[in-house]
């Protein structure tokens, strides 16, 4: 059992130094910006929480936030079940297992902007193969002006890009389930579906919660892939919170607004993630019966 020893903090110093360099100082700068406005020629002027109020009342923020929540929920609903199914389908032993691991892992290895490029090339009306195929089925697919086509292409890109993460996590979770549970279910005459529902899924709970937490965080920050694929268009259909953030911060030079927006945005992520973290850790403590080692 672990020893209680406050000197353990000494081990943490290197990590804290590196992280505080990267976390605290920039965070303080952002907080600094969020409570001031930079007026050309006048320098910084204290504005208190005005920026925060502007953001909260700004309809484009509320629009972006609802679209973002919708997008995050949708991709989780698709990726988690699909990831589990793929993990179930993956071979367990021998070279096929290695081949499956490497191929399924590929999308995770590609820089996010290259993902954007590939899908852009893949779906452009002039050179892409997707429009060409849809055309054969008599559907005019055009990512540039049809909001539906654009939205679903962005969703499919994200599914293509991140389902492997859930699949790999679920795959390692499946390997931790002792075979005795499947043997017992076979003896009890359970169908394949009943066995999944009563043996497999409950024991994947831990791994899936981590997957969902990671996927939620990353989906909330998605920006570069979409900006390369659809640039947020057509109109605002595929423009989410980070898109608004970059435009206001980099483009419009309303730095106070952007700083306030990012702090609100950061706050939302932390609150939701903390809820997941609590669920996750007390899920861990009500430890389901693992195989006891003699």
């Amino acid at each position: 059992m672990k020893r209680v020893d406050q000197r353990a903090w000494l081990f943490l110093i290197p990590a804290l130094v590196v992280l505080s360099l990267n976390a605290f100082i920039p965070l303080m700068t952002v907080v600094n910006y969020s409570v001031q406005d930079i007026l050309p020629g006048l320098g910084a002027v204290w504005v208190g929480f005005d920026n925060f109020e502007n953001v909260l009342r700004d309809p484009s923020f509320r629009g972006a936030l609802t679209r973002q929540l919708g997008f995050s929920a949708l991709i989780l609903l698709i990726q988690v079940p699909l990831g589990i199914l793929v993990a179930l389908g993956m071979p367990k032993k021998g070279w096929p297992a290695t081949a499956a691991l490497v191929t399924i892992g590929l999308p995770l290895l590609i820089p996010w902007n290259v993902v954007g490029i590939i899908w852009r090339v893949f779906t452009r009306s002039d050179i892409g193969i997707v429009p060409f195929l849809f055309d054969r089925f008599g559907y005019v697919y055009n990512i540039a002006n049809s909001p539906a086509d654009a939205y679903w292409t962005v969703v499919m890109m994200d599914v293509w890009h991140w389902t492997p993460l859930i699949a790999l996590l679920a795959y390692s979770g499946l390997n931790a389930i002792p075979d005795a549970f499947y043997q017992a279910a076979r003896i009890d005459g359970a169908t394949r579906w009943r066995t999944f529902w009563v043996v497999t899924l409950p024991r994947l709970r831990n791994v899936l919660t981590i997957g969902i937490l990671l996927r939620f965080m990353d989906s909330f920050r998605i920006y570069i892939e979409i900006s390369l694929l659809t640039g947020g268009g057509p109109g605002r259909t595929t423009a989410f919170v980070s898109d608004l953030l970059v435009n206001r911060a980099v483009g419009g030079f309303e730095f106070g607004y952007a700083a306030a927006l990012s702090l609100i945005y950061f706050f939302i992520i932390i609150v939701i993630s903390y809820l997941f973290f609590l669920v996750l850790t007390n899920v861990g403590t009500s430890s389901q019966m693992q195989g006891g080692d003699a």
């Binding site: 793929v86 179930l88 290259v114």
Partner: protein, 269 residues
């Protein structure tokens, strides 16, 4: 006859096609001259050419940025491990005030929305004179790779019973000698998996890499997007660069496959 078209095999086949199609399309593009890319849509290139790859390997800009990326990714992995191993040891061996919440704070760093932090990072690294150096990008990336590395290593370390530490102390081992000769070899797999995920993140990250560099340490990801910027995009070269960027990652995933297959210690949570 073993049924081949079981629902499981069909689903896997469909998924693999969905997964491979864009990649194969990119691969085939990397062997086509620009002209052919724009006109035809055949999967197999009619006039296969290696000019796109040649472009990359001959152009100093491409080669240098590829090397730059590898340098700062390697530095990030090394710094992450040096910093994460002792921290993970503390979390796995001791309970101390605020350890759980500290762990959550570490995770929250990973969630910081990149976009707006660019300017502060830019100012910070310029002030400390690290702008446009590999170290700058490596250090910035540790903000994201250290928390995950600590989490993975802590899982592996908790798998090693405390009695091994104590037996070593009873045998007379000093802490450093114990850590080096007995403990480190035992968490080898953990180090491999942590290194893999640190590499994975740092290799594909764009925002910080672009912000903190200009010419001397220009990474491949920036070189890629730069050639995007110019209007007449040189699709063939971009596709070739995309293909080349997958190779290091694929190799690394090959090396850590056993640990992934065995299920790295998710029991931690």
């Amino acid at each position: 006859m073993r049924r081949v078209f079981t629902p499981r095999n069909v689903l896997m086949a469909v998924y693999l096609i969905f997964l491979a199609a864009p990649l194969l399309w990119m691969l085939s593009m990397s062997f086509k001259p620009n002209a052919e890319i724009l006109e035809t849509r055949a999967l197999f290139p009619q006039t296969p050419t290696l000019e796109n790859y040649a472009e990359i390997f001959t152009q100093p800009a491409w080669r240098e940025s590829f090397v730059n990326s590898l340098i700062y990714v390697a530095m990030n992995v090394v710094i992450t491990l040096i910093v994460a191993i002792p921290a993970a040891y503390a979390f796995s061996r001791y309970t101390f005030r605020g350890d759980r919440h500290l762990f959550f704070w570490l995770l929250t760093n990973r969630m910081a929305p990149g976009a707006v932090f660019l300017l502060p990072f830019f100012q910070l690294y310029s002030n400390i004179g690290l702008f446009d150096t590999h170290l700058a990008v490596a250090l910035a990336h540790t903000l994201f790779s250290v928390p995950l590395a600590i989490w993975i290593l802590e899982g592996f370390m908790s798998g090693i019973p405390m009695e091994i530490d104590e037996t070593a102390y009873v045998d007379g081992y000093s802490f450093p000698r114990f850590f080096y000769r007995i403990f480190m070899p035992l968490i080898g797999p953990g180090i491999g998996v942590a290194a893999f995920f640190s590499f994975l993140f740092s290799w594909v990250e764009l925002l910080f890499a672009r912000t903190l560099t200009s010419t001397a340490a220009k990474p491949i990801v920036v070189q890629l997007s730069r050639s995007l910027g110019a209007e007449g995009w040189d699709w063939g070269v971009i596709a070739a660069a995309g293909v080349l960027m997958i190779v290091p990652g694929a190799l690394l995933i090959y090396f850590v496959r056993d640990y992934l297959a065995k299920g790295f210690a998710l029991g931690r949570v």
